[in-house]
Structures are given as structure tokens and as C-alpha cells.
């Protein structure tokens, strides 16, 4: 990783291209596997499909192994929503839930490609689901809001609370609060590209996790955190670097999210790539204010 400044890191243009390629790969994986989902497939099978696809496409490591959630598990209802132990919950892992017609699904993968790590979330549905359509439309506002507040250099904890307030206004549950450490976003870093395949433990990539822990220890001394949530540790302005932002909404057993890399520089911020499925979806539906989101 390139820790140039003490408070995070300003990515170089060349690095951004690497991250963009990793993110594109991750989204291509999710879209390809989404196409293959048929009634009866289990979460575990879908996750394995993604894992194989990524391995075959050159990913050498990951932030975490692919996740897949079906049905009301997309909204983290039931045991999966159990938030004790900091949200580390075995129900989080892909399970034996089978996909049915009309069920929402979320595919989440975080491959490392040539040392660049992406982390994406892709929501879809087998057949039609009016609730999910509405949630996916509404998710546009979160993309606009988060970028706007980061550009204003508001504290990350305050941005988290603003997202919560938007959820309350919409009538959705902020389900990212069921993630480990209730994160709305987390840092991703650059790893040395050594051309070898690397291991993961408990579905998390060892090298990426190591980086995250190192950042957390360092951030603790310097007053920032690589985990972005509504807690006191996030009472600081946006830290330069790459953040995988993942607002996750839940409503009546239906969950929806997107996850994308946000580039934060010393004095600004932008989404790494606007050519992602959710933005293409909003554009195709003519939703405003897309100009602001782009």
C-alpha cells in the first residue's frame, strides 16, 4: 500500500485505472452470475459460481469471498440481522436458501486484480418485484447525498447519520447497520502485485484484512478510522483514499444495496466509475437528478 500522507493516502491516476479495472471485473462477475440464476439455486451455489468466475478471470486475491443473499435475507431479517458480537454473525455467510420466482437477491464480491481491490454489491430480482424497483430507484438519492456531503468535508459519522435520516424519511431500515461494525463504508488499499494466488480465512482475504487492521491501529493514533459508521471513531472529515461505500436498505423482507468505490482526495471526491449497473439502470429509467450523481 502507498501510505504517502499520514492521514490516509492520495491515489495516483495510474492506481485509479487499476481499481477501475478491478471494479469492472467485479461487476461483470455479478452480472454474469445474475444471468445464470434460476429458481432453486442456493446462495452457496451462487457464491461458488462467482468465486469460480473471478478465479478464471484472473483475480488473485479478495477482500472477502463472494456473498450471496436471497429473499428476506437480502433485508437481513431473522437470524442474519443478529447484531451482537459487533455484527460478526455466521448467518451472514451464503447459506442454503433457494431462489424463487419474485425473490430479490444480492450478489456481493470483492476481488483483487493485479493488487487492486474492488468491493461491489449488485441487487437484482428473479422476475418482477415492485418494492425492489422502488428501492432501487430510491438508492439514487443515497449516491447523490453521500458524494455531496463528502465534498462538503462533513464528518463521516455525520454523513452516516444523514444516511440514516434519509432512510427514515424513505421509510427504510438502514440494513448496513447489521454489517460488522455497522459500516456504511470501509477502506480498500493497494496490495503488492506478486502474481500469486492468496488465501482467505473465514472468507476474508488475509492480506486485505491485514491492511485494514494496520489502518485501524494507525488511524486510532491519528484520529481516523478505516471503518466508516455513525460512531465516535468516525468523527473526522473524509480521509483521502478509496472507500467502498455500501448503503443497504431493507423494507418488509426486501433488501437492496449497491456498493461502489468512492475516491476521496485531499480536497474533493468522486465516484471511481459511473459506468456501473445501478447508474445505467437509473439513466435508462430517466431518473433525476442524475447529473448530480454523475
Amino acid at each position: 500500500m502507498g501510505g504517502s500522507s499520514s492521514n490516509g493516502w492520495d491515489p495516483a491516476i495510474a492506481d485509479l485505472d487499476g481499481f477501475r479495472a478491478a471494479q469492472k471485473l467485479a461487476y461483470r462477475c455479478a452480472e454474469a452470475v445474475a444471468q445464470e440464476l434460476t429458481p432453486g439455486i442456493t446462495e452457496r451455489e451462487a457464491a461458488i459460481l462467482m468465486k469460480r468466475w473471478l478465479a478464471a478471470s484472473g483475480a488473485e486475491d479478495c477482500f472477502h469471498q463472494p456473498f450471496a443473499w436471497f429473499g428476506d435475507r437480502t433485508a437481513f431479517e431473522g437470524f442474519i440481522g443478529f447484531r451482537h458480537l459487533g455484527g460478526f454473525n455466521p448467518a451472514f455467510y451464503p447459506g442454503s436458501r433457494r431462489l424463487e420466482e419474485g425473490m430479490p437477491f444480492i450478489l456481493d464480491c470483492a476481488p483483487t486484480l493485479n493488487g487492486y481491490t474492488a468491493d461491489i454489491g449488485y441487487t437484482g430480482c428473479l422476475g418482477g418485484n415492485r418494492i425492489l424497483d422502488r428501492m432501487m430507484d430510491d438508492l439514487l438519492e443515497y449516491r447523490v447525498l453521500i458524494l455531496e456531503l463528502v465534498k462538503q468535508r462533513q464528518n463521516l459519522s455525520e454523513i452516516s447519520r444523514a444516511v440514516d435520516r434519509l432512510c427514515a424519511r424513505h421509510g427504510y431500515e438502514p440494513r448496513h447497520k447489521a454489517y460488522p461494525f455497522q459500516v456504511l463504508a470501509h477502506r480498500v488499499d493497494k496490495l503488492p502485485a506478486d502474481g500469486r494466488k492468496h488465501r482467505s480465512v473465514l472468507n476474508f482475504g488475509v492480506r486485505n484484512l491485514e491492511n485494514l487492521v494496520r489502518d485501524a491501529v494507525r488511524g486510532r493514533h491519528e484520529g481516523w478510522s478505516p471503518l466508516w459508521n455513525g460512531g465516535n471513531a468516525s468523527d473526522h472529515p473524509p480521509t483521502p483514499g478509496l472507500w467502498a461505500v455500501e448503503p443497504h436498505l431493507g423494507f418488509r423482507g426486501v433488501g437492496a444495496k449497491w456498493e461502489e468505490l468512492l475516491v476521496v482526495t485531499a480536497d474533493g471526491a468522486f465516484w471511481l466509475d459511473d459506468d456501473v449497473p445501478q447508474v445505467r439502470r437509473w439513466l435508462s429509467r430517466g431518473l433525476q437528478p442524475l447529473a448530480m450523481a454523475a
Binding site: R134, H170, G171, F251, R252, G253
Partner: protein, 598 residues
């Protein structure tokens, strides 16, 4: 009979049906849709007079005395009272009064039992355009109902059969030889109007033919009951049927109407909080319900109340076990744009109710309505300031005209206020009393009146707070308004009990809602208010009692008709303390909790 007759002046007519001669009365002008009213036991056509006369202003209304009653002839043998003969009588009347056009049938009690036979039998196919049935099931349907429940072996279902049997004790008595006819001969007819007044609270007036009505009518039971109940036939109908159901009927249990949609293609059902003789206790309502139904079947619009009353085939409960428990009901929720109001609205919508989201923030109300629509409900949004008497009157007026009287009203809108009593100014008091108390007064009064007028066995739910019985120096104004809401609900409950309207006060503990972020802290500057709001927000967030939990408790209380709903351990604790140890409760009231940032 087709001559021009003034409304309410009945024209008599004698109609022959086999051996029997029937006394028929016709009201209103020819050329209008005909409504035929059939009476039950032990009545004569006179039981309809409060309904027939006003209805005749718009329709041609026909009533007649069933064989054995009133001025019709009375065969001596029980066998002559079999349903096939009764239907033949009705056919004879229809041939005489409306040989060409199908009529609209409305019937009560035994008349209704005959009506079911009439709409199910081949004999009268095409002769009945619509059927309004009050308090009398098809005996065949009832036979199946009993058999299905007994065969199920489920104790709960068997208990329902027992319940109905206990309501039908008199039917057994009617089968005893001599007893019932003798009772009518020995003066029960003189006693009957008084009995009705005492038991049912209705003024039927003396009927000259009462002794005869009672005496011969017993044969209706003897000729048909055991025959139909023990060997029921599959009876289906394509005639549109409107059930008007008195929910406090002593003689027919509501459960008997379960699963009726398996026999009837088009079914409507309207409940009225009343006893058995609905046309005597609520003549305007019966007249309106018959009129709306007839007009709709004749090609008119389907009014909102009738549309909601449609019985849709129950969809199989999904995996989440969601039921459509409140299908056909209209629910109004104030403060429905957020928090407890929104969650209650959505839960009711999810369970089938049509909902109205009222909020002072129109965008928030519309958003709630939109979410309710996503859950499959019909939903409306209105901007209303609940503390504004005029605005509430307009709102209630709109509900009455556009949607009809509500079944459920949740007076939930409220604002927060904290701080010392001596720092709370007049303007502060006026502001919080206006929303928290006047809002509930307006909502309860305006919609309570609508419910009573419509005979709705509905629900008024007033959202108070655990602070209603837990005094605190920190929340003087808020707690005072909530205590007032609880007392208002207690008094209103006592008043509306006899109308069948359920009144509940809801007392939640520390619920994490947007109210904390909007609470006014009196006696401190704006910055300090912001700090305290944030502090209160954190405290309530840590408590993590969700509005959805309150909504679930409210909807459960609607089912159980519970008078007081406590939500959260702190609410239960405070309730207990207020009763067992008021002294300790008073001591705790002196405590001050710091809302400073940690």
C-alpha cells in the same frame, strides 16, 4: 298495482300460491327497479315498515306476509312450510309484481334463509338481480359449515360449532310438540314487544298478528331444520350477494359466515354493531345499504364503502404468515408521515386495510401512502394539522364523502416538549396542548360520530405515552398532555362501549422515533437545545425500541380489543410502580437525567 301510487302509501294485493293466499303490499311507482323485502320469524311484513316507506321514494318496494304470518293464510301442517313451498310463494309474488324484470331481494332472518334458497335454486334463475341478506344463512351452507368443522377435529373449530348451537337453543325448543305454539297462544304475543325492548333495545310496536306469526312460524323450523342441516346440498349462486351482518346478533354467530365465498361468486359484507333486528334498530342504514347495492347492480357507481365491503377470495398466507385480517376496513392514521404512525399505517396496509395517511408534512404523508400502495393497499394521503379544528372538520368531511366512515382511527400525531414547568411559557403550552390533546379530541369526536352513525363496530386508538402515569420534572408539559389523552380514552371507552366501538390508549416507553429530534427543550438556548436533542436521540437509539414494535402492539390490540397497550419494559414497570408504589413513582419524578453528550 302499476297505477301511480304516492311514496309510502302501500297498495295491497292478494296473490295465490297453490293452496295459500299471500298478502302483498306495494309501495312506490311502477317502472322503477323493484325491491322485494322478506321478513323473518316471528314477524310479519310490518317489520320492514321503517325501511320500505323511505325506500319507496326511489324504488318500487314490495313486501309480503310469509305463509303462516300476518294476513297470509296459514296451513296447519308443518310439512307445508318446507323451503320448496316458501320459494314457490316468492315465485308467485314475483310473477304477480314483476313478471318481466328481475327484482332486488332483501331479506331478514327466516326471510333470508328463504332468500338463499331463492338465489340458489334453478326455479328462480334470472329472476333475482341482487340479494341483500341480513341475519339468516343458507341452511345448506350452515350444514356444510358444521360438518366441515366437526370433521376437522380441531378443538377451536369445534368450539365455534358449540357456540352456534348455544345461540340456537330456541330452535331445539321449537321442535318440542305443543310448547312454542302454546306459549304464543298463552300471551307471549302480548309480552313480545316488551321482550324485544328489554333484550334488544328496539321499539317494534305491537303487531296485531303477533300470536299467529309466532304460532305458525314455528313450523318453519320444524319443516326445514333437521332436513337441511343433516343432509346439506351444495348450493352455489351467481347472484351478487350483500351480507349485512349485525355483529351482536344473539341468534346467529358471526363464524357461521366464514368461508361463504366458496359458494358465492360475488360477495359483499358490511358489519353493523347492532343486534338481530337491524331494520328496526338502524332503518336508515339498512335502507342506505340496500339502496347503494341496488344502484350499483343497476349499473351505477360502486361507492367506496361498498367497494371496500367486497369479499375477495383469501389469498393463501405467504411464508411470512401475513394475513389479510383487515381487508375491507378503512383505517385513518394521523401523524402517519413518520415513526409510530407510519409503521402502524404500513402494518394495517399489509394486512389488507385501505389506509389514509394524515400528516402536517404532505410529502411525508404521501411517502407513507406510497409505501402502503407498494404493499398492495389502497392508500390516500392528506395534509392535516390535527390541532386545527376547522382543518380536522374538513378532513373528516372529506373522509365521510369520499370513503365513508372509518373502521379504525389512530390518533397518533404528537409533538415533544421537555424542560421545567416554570420555564414552559403560555405559547409552549398552547402549542403542545393543541397538537397532543386537541388533535386527539378532534379525531376521536369527529370520527367517533361517523362510526356511531354508520353502526361501525370500529376502533379508536389514541397514542399516549408511559409518561401518562410516570410523572417527571423533566417532561411536565408532554406528560400532562399524554395523561389527558389516556383519561380521555378511558372516558370515551365507557361511552362508546354500548356502540360496540373499541377505544384503546397506547402507552409506549422510550421509542426511537423522529419526535426526539424535533422536541422543544424549554428554558435553554438553541445550541443547548440541539445538544440535548442529540443526547436524547442517542439515549433513545441505545434503548432501541422501534416504532414497528409499537405498531405491532397496536394492531394486536385491535384484534384483542385491549383497552390499554403498554409497549416496552419501562412502560410496564412505570405502570406497575404507579399502582403499587405511587410514593416511589413520585420520588423518581424528581430525578433529572443529563442529556449532555458523553
Amino acid at each position: 298495482m302499476e297505477s301511480s301510487i304516492k311514496a309510502s302509501a302501500a297498495q295491497p294485493l292478494r296473490v295465490r300460491s297453490g293452496e295459500v293466499e299471500l298478502a302483498v303490499r306495494i309501495y312506490g311507482e311502477a317502472g322503477r327497479p323493484s325491491v322485494v323485502l322478506v321478513h323473518g320469524y316471528p314477524d310479519s311484513n310490518q317489520v320492514w315498515h321503517k325501511v320500505a316507506a323511505p325506500l319507496s321514494g326511489r324504488y318500487r318496494v314490495v313486501t309480503y306476509d310469509v305463509r303462516g304470518a300476518g294476513e297470509s293464510s296459514a296451513p296447519r301442517h308443518a310439512a307445508a312450510y318446507g323451503l320448496e313451498h316458501l320459494v314457490a310463494d316468492l315465485a308467485a309474488v314475483l310473477d304477480a309484481v314483476s313478471p318481466e324484470h328481475p327484482v332486488h331481494l332483501a331479506a331478514h332472518d327466516w326471510g333470508s334463509i328463504q332468500g338463499w334458497e331463492a338465489v340458489c335454486t334453478e326455479r328462480l334463475k334470472g329472476r333475482v338481480a341482487s340479494y341483500t341478506s341480513i341475519s339468516g344463512p343458507s341452511l345448506d351452507h350452515a350444514g356444510y359449515w358444521v360438518a366441515q368443522r366437526l370433521r376437522s377435529g380441531a378443538p377451536r373449530k369445534m368450539a365455534k360449532v358449540l357456540n352456534q348451537l348455544m345461540r340456537s337453543w330456541y330452535i331445539g325448543a321449537f321442535h318440542l310438540p305443543l310448547a312454542a305454539p302454546l306459549a304464543w297462544r298463552l300471551g307471549l304475543d302480548q309480552l313480545w314487544p316488551k321482550l324485544l325492548e328489554r333484550m334488544e333495545g328496539i321499539d317494534a310496536g305491537p303487531a296485531p298478528s303477533q300470536a299467529k306469526d309466532g304460532r305458525y312460524g314455528v313450523n318453519l323450523y320444524r319443516a326445514n331444520f333437521s332436513r337441511r342441516l343433516l343432509a346439506p346440498r351444495e348450493r352455489r349462486t351467481g347472484v351478487p350477494v350483500q351480507l349485512v351482518v349485525p355483529t351482536r346478533d344473539r341468534f346467529v354467530s358471526l363464524e357461521l359466515l366464514e368461508g361463504l365465498d366458496q359458494w358465492v361468486d360475488q360477495l359483499w359484507r358490511r358489519d353493523v354493531a347492532a343486534g338481530h333486528w337491524l331494520q328496526l334498530s338502524h332503518p336508515e342504514l339498512v335502507q342506505r345499504y340496500i339502496g347503494e347495492f341496488v344502484d350499483f347492480i343497476e349499473g351505477g357507481e360502486e361507492p367506496a364503502g361498498l367497494r371496500r365491503a367486497r369479499v375477495h377470495a383469501a389469498p393463501t398466507a405467504g411464508k411470512g404468515g401475513s394475513t389479510r385480517r383487515w381487508a375491507g376496513k378503512l383505517a385513518i392514521v394521523t401523524g402517519a408521515g413518520s415513526g409510530i404512525g407510519r409503521e402502524t399505517l404500513l402494518l394495517l396496509a399489509e394486512q389488507g386495510a385501505e389506509v389514509v395517511a394524515a400528516d402536517i408534512d404532505p410529502a411525508a404523508a404521501e411517502r407513507s401512502a406510497e409505501l402502503a400502495r407498494l404493499l398492495g393497499a389502497t392508500a390516500h394521503a392528506r395534509k392535516v394539522d390535527v390541532g386545527d379544528a376547522k382543518a380536522m372538520e374538513n378532513f373528516a368531511g372529506w373522509v365521510a364523502t369520499a370513503l365513508g366512515a372509518p373502521d379504525i382511527v389512530v390518533n397518533n400525531a404528537g409533538i415533544g416538549m421537555a424542560g421545567r414547568f416554570l420555564d414552559t411559557g403560555t405559547a409552549d403550552w398552547e402549542r403542545i396542548l393543541r397538537v397532543n390533546l386537541w388533535g386527539v379530541i378532534h379525531g376521536s369526536r369527529l370520527f367517533g360520530r361517523q362510526m356511531v352513525a354508520a353502526g361501525k363496530p370500529g376502533h379508536i386508538v389514541n397514542v399516549a405515552s408511559a409518561l401518562a402515569f410516570a410523572p417527571s420534572r423533566m417532561l411536565a408539559a408532554y406528560a400532562t398532555t399524554k395523561a389527558a389523552v389516556a383519561m380521555l380514552s378511558d372516558c370515551l371507552r365507557a361511552e362508546l362501549e354500548e356502540q360496540g366501538i373499541h377505544v384503546a390508549s397506547v402507552c409506549p416507553g422510550m421509542v426511537d422515533t423522529p419526535i426526539t429530534a424535533a422536541t422543544r427543550f424549554v428554558g435553554v438556548d438553541e445550541d443547548e437545545q440541539e445538544r440535548r436533542r442529540a443526547g436524547a436521540g442517542r439515549l433513545y437509539a441505545r434503548r432501541n425500541l422501534k416504532p414497528r414494535a409499537v405498531a405491532a402492539a397496536i394492531v394486536k390490540a385491535l384484534e384483542t380489543r385491549k383497552p390499554e397497550v403498554l409497549v416496552g419494559a419501562e412502560a410496564h414497570g412505570a405502570r406497575l410502580l404507579s399502582r403499587l408504589s405511587p410514593g416511589l413513582s413520585r420520588r423518581l419524578a424528581r430525578m433529572e437525567v443529563s442529556l449532555q453528550a458523553p
